[in-house]
Symmetry: D2
């Protein structure tokens, strides 16, 4: 049988999970305005102290069901992502909710929506990449600058920049706790089933390396209120997502 | 509040409907192999006699909620679509089920999936357009040829060609009946809500014009079995979709 | 032999001309600042009174050498273009020089550069299209609004909007005279041949139809100085380009 | 002044060189048919023994004039490239001529054409990337497979696959000698200047690392005759290009 686009399978837009990720991040941590952020974070999640993060990243992703796609269908294993996340609480437990994540491929869009991420399709995400053999580039070091942007439709949704100050370690990165999301699939007519459930993303195998810490700045069309940049970071990260679990009120 | 990508609203990927469509089609009618088609048509739909259609089209679409986007956000009102549809029956009533529809924008992808279409994102759809003022082109007339193709990932998913033989009328186009679909949103973990319901698309306001009839041919990676082309057509069509309704067994 | 990308031929990026065009335009006429415009118009062309035009359009183009591509390779016959043109003079004869034209395909980019247009590749051009059968759209009439934009890299290069006031005729459109350009191909090392010649584009077969006149506005990152919109127009046009001829000082 | 798209400068499509490159390659070495290859290699170059290479790569490129674009305009520093090169001779000196190089950005297209490369714009190039932190991926090792493809218009222009057998060194990679090219800019009308000169690309600072050697296979629409794969390789490389020099007969 041909799989439905949203039903994981070999002919679906989504392969069967768990799904494994390896990503290179350029991130900026900042404080937004709580009054604005509240309009981006749906109940039952409660905006915390205004701490947020924004990032652009390139992700190499394979599913348990098809790691061989890395060679046979590389277009099914690479995408770029840009996002803004807001620190929030569920029953007193802090976590991060991403009002929007822009991604560059269909499969990351639909897989994410299924798992509870509020993903949108980007037209383009571009971000700094260094290359150790480029005779015109230096290795990453204090003073190095990184940038990235996301374009959708008529203009930018997010752009950010980080200036490196020093080498860091994973513990230097602000911690938010688990990733929260919303699984939603509304009805379009009478008697149709609806899905509307808050979830926690089931994430494991997390590891971080190559951390560099510095200052950062960003612009976004997402209405986060006045932005107070706190810090910036460049790092690599890996993790596994196996789905999501419903959060019961 | 920021809308979830799948919950129609002004900040969602999907505007509030009903949604209106005006489309220019290049279509090929053909017979596939019933044994193959059965693997493309999910229960409760039953493959009929093997009659199928394939098309590429350009669609201008506006929502009741925002017709002004035609000027302010034209990228939210234009997309291309390529599809293969299979004649099938539900409780003895014939209709058409599209195992796959490839589209070129996020909003047509997600809107369609919500309504029950098995949409996928195309990388590119290209199709013949004539222009009455181009000094090197003739008006449409017997002998004129039209073609189109859809590319996704490493190659073509569909290509077709039509050679015009004569002017026609809407009644010259094969009739399939209503459009059937599947609304699906599977769980990704314990206790999550699932959606899995056969639907009929709620379509109204149908009108067709500028019909030209001829012969056609097509290639598709969709496994429809041996293709026996029946006819081809070029035409314009308009309609309104207000959602879908569940089909009860 | 395989053709060089710039040497017109069946395996080149450019087919052998003459090349025929049919285009749908949304145009805004405006006055820029002469001091700014002078920096956009190279010698021997002389900026005139500051009159300029900006447009977005969709073009159907075929070459004498391969009109059948309209069906077999529609991707070789359709592109979008956005441009800003400046009224200027050469030896006292007024014409129009386009400091930049953004286009959406390789072949229109390279063909244009060869002929003397200062073309650049756009990431995306989107513009209003109406459709007579769309139940949610009205026919073009006074009050109708049209818009378009061009995105390249991190943001917009041009956006414009036109509000229709009345039906018009071709003679209602401001006339600029011939199209001027620069053919340039600099050396990249000693003893290499250079091309640096002002040209007039060889244009014929011009025809215009479906003219609607109104008001317009635009934004562009091109440094044209303060913009004073004069009028807007929507129309269809066709013409043939056979190459260019050198303008001798 | 606004720069012409082909005249290197800060507002041109091409920045002022020299240009520095850091690239990750997946390459396949093969033998084509000399009779076929002769039709791909223009005089004064002479096809050698049929040795060819094909590759896909991702390139990070900066110009001497603007290394800061790596952060402020990453879209001006990253592109993908796919190409087929043919061993040939000029006055008895062996080198490599690339009948076609497909690239994913305007600036690499135009810069390459200016320097003498027969570049074409790809719609998409995708290639295997590993990530050391992805829990579902292994490090590169014997048995690892890499693949890549290039799509342009209706289909693939090149696809290739490499299976790693062992770690290697730069000297394990077949050597072709200098890169030859053709600078061409034909006239489009009477009395226009033409450029038609064979060149050698001025390449320096070459370095190679992370070499892995294995077997390979490829498909291409370029008419190279029957393909006999010889070997495959994955490696990183860096170099500088400062332009080209005319080869005098």
């Amino acid at each position: 049988m041909l799989d439905h686009p949203l039903v994981p399978g070999s002919t679906s837009a989504i392969e069967r999970g768990p799904w494994h990720y390896g990503a290179d991040y350029i991130s900026v941590y900042f404080r937004g305005e709580v009054a604005s952020l509240k309009r981006l974070v749906p109940a039952p999640f409660v905006t915390d102290d205004g701490l947020c993060m924004a990032y652009v990243c390139e992700i190499i992703s394979v599913a348990d069901a098809g790691p061989e796609l890395i060679a046979s269908r590389p277009d099914r294993t690479i995408y770029q992502e840009a996002a803004v996340g807001v620190k929030c609480r569920f029953k007193g437990r802090t976590g991060i909710f991403f009002p929007v994540m822009w991604v560059t491929t269909e499969w990351s869009l639909l897989r994410g929506i299924l798992n509870g991420y509020q993903k949108r399709l980007a037209d383009r995400i571009s971000m700094t990449k260094l290359h150790p053999l480029n005779p015109g580039l230096k290795e990453i070091a204090p003073g190095a600058r990184f940038g990235g942007f996301c374009v959708k439709g008529p203009g930018q949704t997010l752009s950010l920049e980080v200036t490196i100050e020093k080498a860091g370690s994973p513990s230097d990165l602000p911690s938010f706790g688990p990733t929260y999301g919303m699984r939603r699939f509304p009805s379009t007519g009478d008697a149709e089933t609806e899905v509307n459930e808050p979830v926690e993303i089931l994430k494991s195998n997390s590891r971080v390396s190559d951390v560099w810490i510095g200052s950062g700045s960003l612009k976004t069309k997402l209405k986060v209120g006045k932005i107070t940049p706190l810090s910036g970071a460049v790092y690599r990260s890996g993790f596994t997502i196996s789905g999501s679990k419903v959060l019961k009120a």
